[in-house]
């Protein structure tokens, strides 16, 4: 009987050996393969809990990773002044979803970019935790704060300020905003709860930036595009006399196109182009657009960057001008920034900045420098020309018209005592029963030596409140950013 017991023991030894073989296969031999499988969320967790690099403004971190206890994640992502920067930083969640720069620059922030390869190797051998790169933004913290504070709570507004000669973004604030700390929680269920709560807020998107990704009808600010097309056609100059009918009959439709009821357009039946621009009369622009044709307007729009996405490095949503053939009535409406035409705040700001910069459009840039954890510079974007939109004489013509707009036209609220301001206003009807509009202004200053372009837009706002806010806030921003 004892022999049988010993035999049983030997068989059991074999069973144990098979377990040891299987364990060593899984835990040692095939471990790397298993660790790198897509289904393996542990890597994601390791990444999610890794010390990501900070994002800084004026050298101070607005986002950083601090050591964290009590959860499986080693580090906690902390957003300072969260609402002020949420549209830019986005959020980083342990569930793997992220937005904004956290998503766009993830390779750098997490230390996985190609340029950090040697850092990773060093970290591997020294056993040090791999530190992500730090990203310094071009933003001016005070200006960003000012812009953010200007926008009233419960309004959907955006303010963008860029340097016209370099394309650097100085301020890009919008409301409604949110607190990314709510989404940087270390629990998937808490994240989902917060996400659901935030997504229920009207007008709020945690995935996008309002200034870059929210194209809406630009209204009369789109006349900058018409003006470019008109001037470049050679058929028009500032003093060209144009008819200013109160109503323009449109082909194929019973509706006529009217000038704005409270504008100054009804004062004259004929006027020179610069006056029409300053008063933002609809009918002459619509007529000119139909005369020039869709292709000319489209070409001007695309020269400014419509129908094109850029990376600042956040991706912009293309502002839209229809490329398929439009009937004349639709073209007429499109030329005054209605119908299917849309624009983001950044798009219009790029247009104003191009005019300011002698017709040369600079690539908007949000990132100043990206440094490795050893402070070595990994990336430092230099000013980059995006497009030569127009020659400098055309640019100075449009500048003159925009100055006129501020001095005696619709942009009067942006008038400064310190310098000449060039601007174009816009009001887009959004076809909603409450009579709400999108209210725009875009422009730059000083007109004789342009430094900064500013764009202010409010969506779904009452007409009078909108024009009140946009003009005065543009002025506030310009006076703040331009040194005496």
């Amino acid at each position: 009987m004892n022999n049988a017991i010993r035999h049983t023991w030997v068989v059991s030894v074999a069973l144990f050996l098979s377990l040891f073989v299987a364990l060593s296969l899984i835990q040692v031999v095939l471990a790397d393969d298993l660790n790198s499988r897509d289904e393996n969320a542990r890597q994601t967790i390791a990444n999610a809990g890794a010390p990501r690099g900070p994002i800084t403004v004026d050298g101070a971190p607005i986002v950083e990773s601090v050591p964290s206890d009590h959860t499986q994640y080693d580090f906690q992502r902390v957003y300072h002044e969260p609402e002020l920067y949420s549209g830019i930083t986005g959020f980083f969640s342990v569930t793997g979803s992220s937005s904004g720069l956290e998503s766009e620059l993830n390779d750098y922030l997490s230390g996985q970019s190609d340029s950090q390869f040697f850092d990773r190797i060093t970290a591997l051998f020294t056993g040090r935790t791999m530190q992500g790169a730090q990203v310094e933004l071009t933003l001016d913290g005070e200006l960003q704060q000012l812009a953010y504070d200007l926008i009233p709570e419960d309004r959907r507004g955006t303010i963008v300020v860029t340097d016209v000669t370099t394309g650097e973004i100085r301020a890009m604030a919008s409301k409604p905003s949110y607190d990314p700390n709510d989404l940087a929680v270390h629990s998937a269920s808490e994240f989902e709860e917060a996400q659901q709560r935030l997504e229920e807020q009207p007008g709020l998107s945690i995935w996008t930036n309002r200034a870059l990704n929210m194209p809406v009808a630009p209204g009369s600010t789109f006349k900058l595009v018409d003006t470019l097309a008109m001037l470049e056609s050679g058929d028009y100059d500032l003093d060209t006399e144009l008819d200013v009918p109160e109503t323009l009959d449109l082909p194929n439709t019973e509706h006529g196109l009217e000038n704005f009821a409270d504008g100054g357009c009804h004062q004259r039946e004929q006027a020179e182009f610069i006056w029409i621009f300053a008063q933002s009369c609809n009918t002459p622009f619509a007529e000119a657009a139909m005369e020039l044709g869709q292709d000319e307007i489209l070409a001007a729009a695309e020269a400014f960057g419509w129908n094109q996405s850029i990376e600042v490095p956040l991706s912009t949503t293309p502002s839209r001008f229809p490329t398929d053939e439009l009937s004349d009535d639709v073209l007429a409406l499109s030329s005054i920034g209605q119908q299917d035409v849309t624009a983001t705040a950044m798009q219009l700001n790029m247009a104003a900045a191009a005019i300011a910069n002698d017709g040369t459009m600079m690539h908007p840039q949000l990132v100043d420098t990206i440094r490795g954890s050893d402070l070595q510079i990994l990336q430092q974007p230099s000013p980059e020309v995006l497009n030569e939109v127009m020659d400098s004489s055309t640019a100075s013509d449009i500048t003159e018209m925009m100055v006129e707009t501020v001095e005696s036209g619709t942009g009067f609220r942006a008038q400064s005592e310190r310098f000449d301001v060039a601007a174009k206003t816009g009001t887009a009807e959004i076809g909603d029963d409450d009579g709400l509009v999108n209210s725009w202004i875009t422009g730059f200053a000083p007109a004789d030596d342009p430094q900064y372009a500013v764009t202010v837009v409010y969506e779904r706002i009452e007409l009078s409140e909108g024009s009140q806010l946009t003009g005065s806030q543009m002025l506030t921003m310009l006076e703040a950013v331009i040194e005496e």
Binding site: N2, T8, F16, Q27, N35, E39, R42
Partner: protein, 496 residues
Amino acid sequence: MSSAETDHPKPRRNAELVLLLIALVIGIGAQVLVGLTMEDQIDQRYWIEAAVQVVLAVGFHVVLRLRAAYADPFILPIAVTLNGLGIAMIHRLDFTAAYEGVADRQLVWTAVSMAAAAALLIWLKDHRRLRQLTYISLLVSIVLLFLPIVPGLGRDIQGAQVWVSIGAMSFQPGELAKITLAIFFAGFLANNRDLILLAGRKVGPLTFPRLQDLGPLFLAWVIALGVLIVQNDLGNALMFFGLFVAVIYVATSRFSWIAIGGVFIAAGAVLAYQMVPHARNRFDIWLHAFDPEIYGQMYGSHQLVQGMFGLAHGGLTGTGLGNGNPQMVSLANSDMIIAAFGEELGFIGLGAMLLLYFILFSRYMRAAVGTRDHFGKLLAAGLAVILVLQVFVVVGGITRVIPMTGLVSPFLAAGGSALLANWLIVAIVLMISNAARRPIYAGPMLNTTGAGAAGTEDPLSSDQARTETTAEQTGVTDAAGPAADSASAGSQGGQR
């Protein structure tokens, strides 16, 4: 067996005490590490829990000193080590969102189980008394196995109907059925061994038993299998198969039994695959764990694959207690606790724990080899096989050596029923090992060496049964000669 007469075996309880202290240091140390990692402090609760564990272990040790002084000195320390590690890991998992307060329950169950095991040691005195319960054990096994499918009592948890609920308490009676079935197998085979061996038909080189000799065993096997298929508890079905074959082989030393067992196992597997969708599902998971469809489906391979990821994440040295993500595997503190250990203690830590299992199993087997009576041998071997099969089915399932079935790792996994069963097994094996190692001073008339001689006598009136109790009553330790103890034994026997 002759060594008992010549070597003057020592009780070795002092060695056990030293090992027990090491075991407590490991278990409580792991608990303290968990506390330091997860909450940066060790509050009063830790010391209370540690004290409870010390009291339980030392208390059990004292019972052994008094009741089974010659019991194997390795078994208790290993069980305490594994039990302590289990509590530490369960406590560590309590810090995750999925579990709460399980460690406290486990500690309570540990106390209940160890107390029950100690009580069994004190009350039973000698394992041979269990032999009288051979057929009662069969009856009890049937009742225990059928309880969960009694309407109103049973509960279906995760596809296996193995639970019984009485009020808020739930219990897996099948865990205890392991013991009663092992007792039945051992008792039946010890009684009928000669008959089975002598009467049989020779077919080629193999001798097959007569059908009527097989009858009761076959009946037990069919009942166990039938109930388990109905209950969907494949892990236990596999274990009963293994137990059945191993005990018969040990009883007869005949290879033909292995062959018969192999045929039974194969037939059972085919039957299960054909008739039980649950079993088929397990096979598919095993063979195609990484198939996206199987990975994604409900009750698919997600748990298995996540467990393997956990093991891989642990690698050679592990993440350290509290630093891994074992909670990503479902049932991390019960069925999958091995994956949690593999992740946080690494291959080295888990390997060491497997070695502990292996030593524990070997000590069980040693008791089987050492004891003199056939019933004790068969029982110890059966209980050892239960241990090794539990470990193999659990760890093999997690490491994809065999299809994964629901069995719990002995002593480690959260769950009172299994813990109680395993501690009762410890008590029984300790009794058997005590019987194996204690010195015998047999009179000339007693036949202790002939086959079948021991174990046929009435255990209550046997001299051997008393030797142990009296040895402790006189408080003699290793140093004293056993001869002196037994001299006083005669007069004091029967006092308890």
